[in-house]
């Protein structure tokens, strides 16, 4: 063995040797720590069992199913219009965005297409659901890292988006607005102007968080290089949405799929970040929120006139067949595989929700990090419990 002359390598070898000595001298026993099911960082009932060596995670395993609501089974005993109400609650912050892929799948089976105005308004609400959902993440990430102020700003400004939702649909959280062939009703008077004001406000909110959190040295120290998901690993675990875009994968279903919604008619950008760490995930989401407000603004300007409902029978029967539709939801790719045998309701629906796959990477990701980083990583992966245990 040759003697190294590179001082960095020498220091590394010396460090390893010192570590090895300590490990021989102090044989320590690990601790098993239950994070959850009742824990503030899991915002819901996710349980993560971690084995610790000091504060370092040796092994981690997420335990799911504490909130299992059996939605896939429930869809089998509901009619199509009833299912919309149900699936609203899967990702309870992305409310409207959950309805869209299911309705699209049903429309595909029926051979119906909603009129342009309905598609436009659908897209607007889809993006508003994204804004209200991700705004909460942007604030909540601060809370998980110990900064308590941003989340209040998030709640303050998100309220305006929810008010707009309520004005048009009657529901703040569960709009139940989407119908097969169109929408429940048209937008109320004056809504468009107000919506523009709110979008401006949300851009201001993004700038504020840019200053308050993203540019903060402590925030950067806590998130940069923490929980790095390499491209290939992320893809193999089925990670989607902003999480995979933060790993440098330029893939957005709004742009890359044949969706009848109005995204293609707007000028917007898919943001990616090469790093794949927690900071990148936060950064990508912040940019996407900005981008979403711009999409809404453009759609409001080009909102076509016309009916909001296609001609559909009063009692909806979907012809036999199978259809798969997926969209780029706030949390990632969400899809429904609907199997119909010609009845009032589907015979089987497979729901692909983003959080389930996003969280499945945690055993790989949490190995070797410190306890505070567990919280950072969980927060930056951004899951909604309803989206995991659907």
């Amino acid at each position: 063995m040759s003697v190294t002359t590179d001082w960095r390598q020498a220091a590394y070898i010396a460090g390893q040797a010192a570590d090895a000595r300590v490990n021989v001298e102090l044989e320590t026993e690990g601790t098993t720590l239950n994070i959850g099911p009742q824990h503030p960082a899991t915002h819901g009932t996710l349980r993560i069992v971690v084995r610790l060596d000091g504060e370092q995670v040796v092994w981690a395993e997420p335990v799911m199913g504490y909130m299992h609501r059996g939605y896939e089974k429930l869809t089998e005993v509901r009619t199509y219009p009833q299912i919309t109400t149900l699936i609203n609650r899967i990702d309870w912050l992305g409310h409207f965005a959950n309805e869209v892929p299911f309705i699209l799948a049903a429309e595909k089976l029926m051979g119906v297409e909603a009129p342009p105005r309905a598609q436009w308004i659908r897209t607007i609400f889809f993006e508003m659901a994204r804004i209200s959902n991700v705004a909460l993440f942007l604030g909540d990430m601060g809370v998980q890292l110990g900064a308590i102020t941003p989340v209040f700003y998030a709640f303050r400004d998100r309220e305006h988006v929810l008010n707009l939702m309520e004005a048009a649909t009657g529901g703040r959280f569960h709009p139940n607005y989407d119908r097969i062939g169109g929408l429940k009703e048209d937008l109320p008077k004056g809504w468009v102007d107000e919506c523009k004001g709110v979008m401006k406000r949300m851009r201001g909110f993004c700038d504020e968080l840019d200053d308050l959190l993203l540019g903060n040295e402590i925030f950067q120290a806590r998130t940069r290089g923490i929980g790095v998901i390499p491209k290939a690993v992320g893809l193999s675990y089925g990670v989607s949405g902003s999480n995979i875009r933060a790993s440098g994968v330029d893939w957005d279903l709004r742009r890359d799929s044949e969706s009848p919604l109005a995204w293609k008619s707007c000028d917007w950008k898919v943001w990616t970040h090469p790093d794949g760490d927690s900071f990148a995930r936060y950064w990508v989401r912040l940019q996407e929120t900005r981008e979403a407000t711009k999409i809404v603004d453009q759609l409001l300007d080009s909102l076509p006139a016309g009916p909001i409902m296609a001609k559909v029978p009063r009692i909806i029967k979907v012809p036999a067949g199978e259809a798969w539709e997926h969209t780029e939801n706030p949390l990632g790719e969400m899809g429904y595989y609907v199997v119909s045998q010609g009845g009032l309701g589907p015979i089987r629906v497979k729901i692909r929700s983003a959080s389930f796959n996003n969280i499945s990477i945690t055993p790989w990701l949490l190995r070797g990090v410190y306890v505070p980083d567990v919280i950072t990583i969980l927060a930056s992966l951004y899951f909604i419990l309803g989206d995991i245990d659907r």
Binding site: Q144, G146, A147, T149, I218, R222, Y370, P372, V374
Partner: protein, 340 residues
């Protein structure tokens, strides 16, 4: 006490005890109300408590009464004696801090010659209580929190002491009263109109002091021992009722005391330009209070704005940045002291 009065030993002692017993809860309440409830709320675009008393000012008293009514719960596998003693030790260290803080030329509970060293020494007693609490709770979160607290307080004790050494060098004394007098009679380039508050000459020391005090108080950015979002309040997790109240009072009482020490060392304590002699004894407490609020504002402002560091980053920050910086500060102070 006041020179004209001649009181027996037991009378002065009784007054001192009453003052200390009154000031600590009052200080904790004032800081808790003004900063934790109101300032934080307004910074976060909300109102905070508004119902109990005018503008919610009695909210903390109502909370205190509520805490007293709560059941005194011991965890099943807790070490009962240690568990019960821990909050008392934490609070005791807070009480001892108040002993040496002067609020007037002749107003201080005990005018110790080593007052500064005494204050910093007793403030680190609280870590024993925190370790006891964490160990006796028989809870893994509490234990991790307590060990973090121990590591953190040891690391930040050093910059705290080194930061105030500059002041001691400049004033030539560890006696807090003498330090205030030195600032009162100091001159800036021969002009003695506003004295010489050491924040001007010891600005670096003041910044280090505020940062280290923040860590000693386990407030955000250095609140890993309590870290709500990861350790669920750390060493306090298992405490309920009045035992939790003890920790709460200890936290804010210590914040008040550290602000008072900061005000004494760097802002000139009870000294305000133009007031000397007997009058200073009367105005002094109000002046100290105003300066305390100023320093506390800085501390709480940081607390509400920053995210939390990680434990290893905190240690690196203390050992690799704050301690070298404060050593440089001491050397510079010494050189300048000799030069002038």
């Amino acid at each position: 006490m006041i020179g004209a009065l001649h009181l027996a030993f037991w009378q002065t002692t009784a007054i001192k005890v009453a003052v200390v017993l009154g000031i600590i809860p009052a200080g904790a309440l004032i800081l808790g109300y003004v900063f934790l409830l109101k300032m934080m709320s307004h910074m976060q675009s909300r109102l905070g408590p508004m119902e109990a008393g005018p503008h919610g000012s009695l909210q903390l008293i109502a909370d205190g009464v509520k805490f007293l009514q709560k059941e005194d719960i011991f965890p099943e596998r807790a070490d009962r004696v240690v568990f019960a003693l821990a909050p008392i030790i934490v609070l005791m260290s807070t009480f001892l801090l108040y002993v040496v803080i002067p609020v007037g030329p002749r107003l201080s509970v005990q005018n110790l010659d080593i007052g500064l060293i005494f204050a910093l020494a007793v403030s680190s007693l609280s870590v024993i209580g925190i370790l006891m609490a964490g160990w006796a709770s028989a809870n893994k979160y509490s234990l991790i929190g307590a060990l973090r607290a121990a590591g953190q307080l040891i690391a930040y004790e050093l910059p705290l002491i080194l930061a105030v050494v500059g002041v001691a060098v400049q004033a030539g004394s560890f006696n807090l009263q003498t330090i205030v007098q030195a600032q009162a009679h100091g001159k800036i380039f021969g002009v003695g109109a506003i004295g010489n508050p050491y924040i001007l000459t010891q600005a670096v020391g003041f910044i280090i002091f505020i940062i280290a005090a923040q860590a000693e108080l386990t407030q955000t950015p250095f609140d890993m021992p309590v870290a709500e979002s990861e350790l669920v309040a750390g060493f306090m997790t298992e405490y309920t009722g009045f035992r939790f109240l003890f920790f709460f009072m200890g936290e804010f009482g210590t914040a008040f005391a550290f602000s008072a020490i900061g005000a004494t060392l760097f802002l000139g304590g009870w000294f305000v330009p133009g007031i000397h002699g007997g009058l200073a004894d009367i105005v002094g407490p109000a002046v100290v209070f105003a300066k305390v609020m100023l320093v506390a504002f800085l501390i709480f402002w940081m607390r509400f704005s920053f995210p939390r560091l990680r434990e290893d980053q905190l240690q690196a920050f203390a050992w690799k940045f704050l301690i070298p910086l404060s050593l440089v500060n001491i050397v510079a102070t010494g050189v300048l002291k000799v030069a002038f």
